[in-house]
Amino acid sequence: MSFWNDPLNVTADWLMGIFTGWGMSEIVAQILIGFLGIFVLVALLMVVDIFLVWVERKVVARFQDRIGPNRLGPWGLIQPFADIIKLIIKEDTTPGGADKVVYNVAPILSMMSVLILWAVIPLAPQMIGVEDLNIGALYIIAAGAIGTLSIIMAGWSSNNKFALIGAFRQVAVMVSFEIPMLTMLLIPTIFAGSMGFNDIIQAQYPVPFVLLAPLAAIIFLIAAIAELGRAPFDMAEGESELVSGFNTEYSGMKFGMFYAGELLHAFTFGGFMGILFFGGYSLFGLERIPALAWLNSPFVHIFVLIVKAMIGYWIIMWVKYTLLRIRIDHMLAFNWKFLTPLAFVLLMVVALMNALLKGSPLWVYTAGMFLSNVVVGWVALEVARVYSRREREKVEGVATT
């Protein structure tokens, strides 16, 4: 066991030696090492978060044909630190009539709901917060529930109508899009036979689940974007009508918590896309070739996962800065009348195909799954097309064929 192959356990053993050498009892040392591990993970995430601010600003600038931050440091890399200093030294305002405790707890809960997601994300096969937790997929939804709670707390306690309307909208969206998201989380679960992320990643050799269920990946992405409250589903912010939605009254670092939480959330969901549908930390099975066994290091795994998460994050940004905002009733109708039924039908089709094709060779299984996904997607689009044409004819009073 060397540092290159298992850095966490080597470090833990080393620290254990030091702590027990100081006369600490083994249990206390164990707890202390556990807390240190959590602290290091959270600290690293916050550092990543700082750079996500820079990534986000740089990418949006490119999408809008600008250059973006470019004055402070090389390529503007020091810009996020300036942003943070600005946020910290801003006056911390509390609106009159605000519910102080709830108002102050909300940003903490918002950040927490994102950070606890990383307890179940496997950075490498042996690097996962809660090891034998085989409910990873459901855990995402539970953390989302806490995020929902934080938004309604922020909106209500601000004593501001814009904040409250923004929170109402955002919570309506989050509660509704949870359903297709949960349904889509069941599809990798069907393939892997487990809800644990490690099992899901291991089951994606040799065929990543995106080839088995491309439609599920797309629906999951749509639901994830809605859950994040990013454009085109950013009705909660809707700055042209609601100032800034549920976080209107927050200033300084409290606003920073919401903002940083949103960026880290988007990055995390990029990571979930990578884990659930693109093989997670696995380099598409390359590390299983004996000649490339040195790729089996956690460092390589973490790098691969971060690259996949960044690609997912980039796609989420791409959607955000390309599409227009959708009206709230259209958004909810889209979910309840199109996405949710489609997700349920897809789940049933995938479960049925999985039962039918279980014993067949891999290429038959893959082709059958892929084709059934394409057929379900095509039928859904056809139904939507016919329905919307009929609606248009009703409104315009003429045949539009």
Partner: protein
């Protein structure tokens, strides 16, 4: 006292205090938020019992759905959210007697049960609680009937909700 017991006592105290605040808080939204923390304490208790699935379902269903529904319902009522009236009604002593009796009955029942002081055996390392639960829910010798009855009830509720909300032209 083992570490697990200390954690359990902390969680139990947290849950009970939250539960107490739910019924004594004068602000309805605060009561709803205290309810959330009481339910969260129950979820932690499930997690301590190695029932991770139940713990997560508790958070998803109670905090993610029911508590949010409560908060929405409270916000949609027109009444002022701060209740000014007395917090006790004239029957408070009957309620107190009933609560004490129920508590005493529960204590009596548990004391006469041999399993109270027994220590749970460690679960085997490869014991898959979720598979066991899933099989139990659909196996005829276990819980398939309650499971199906609950499913039919939920479908009936869904259809009823659609029927009530349906906009007849």
């Amino acid at each position: 006292m083992t570490g697990e017991q200390i954690i359990f006592i902390l969680v139990a105290v947290f849950t009970l205090v939250s539960g107490f605040m739910v019924v004594t808080s004068r602000n309805l939204i605060h009561a709803a938020l205290w309810l959330v923390s009481a339910l969260f304490g129950v979820a932690v208790a499930y997690a301590l019992l190695n029932a991770a699935f139940l713990a997560v379902v508790q958070v998803v269903v109670y905090i993610g759905a029911i508590a949010i529904l409560f908060i929405f319902a409270v916000m949609l009522t027109r009444k002022d959210m701060r209740d000014q009236g007395p917090q006790m009604n004239p029957n408070w002593w009957a309620g107190a007697v009933l609560a004490v009796l129920v508590f005493a009955g529960l204590v009596f029942l548990l004391l006469s049960w041999g399993g109270l002081s027994a220590t749970a055996a460690d679960m085997p390392a490869d014991f898959d609680t979720i598979s066991e639960l899933g099989n139990a829910l659909v196996s005829p010798d276990a819980y398939v009937l309650p499971f199906e009855v609950a499913s039919v009830l939920l479908v009936a509720a869904l259809i009823g909700a659609v029927y009530v909300a349906y906009n007849r032209k």
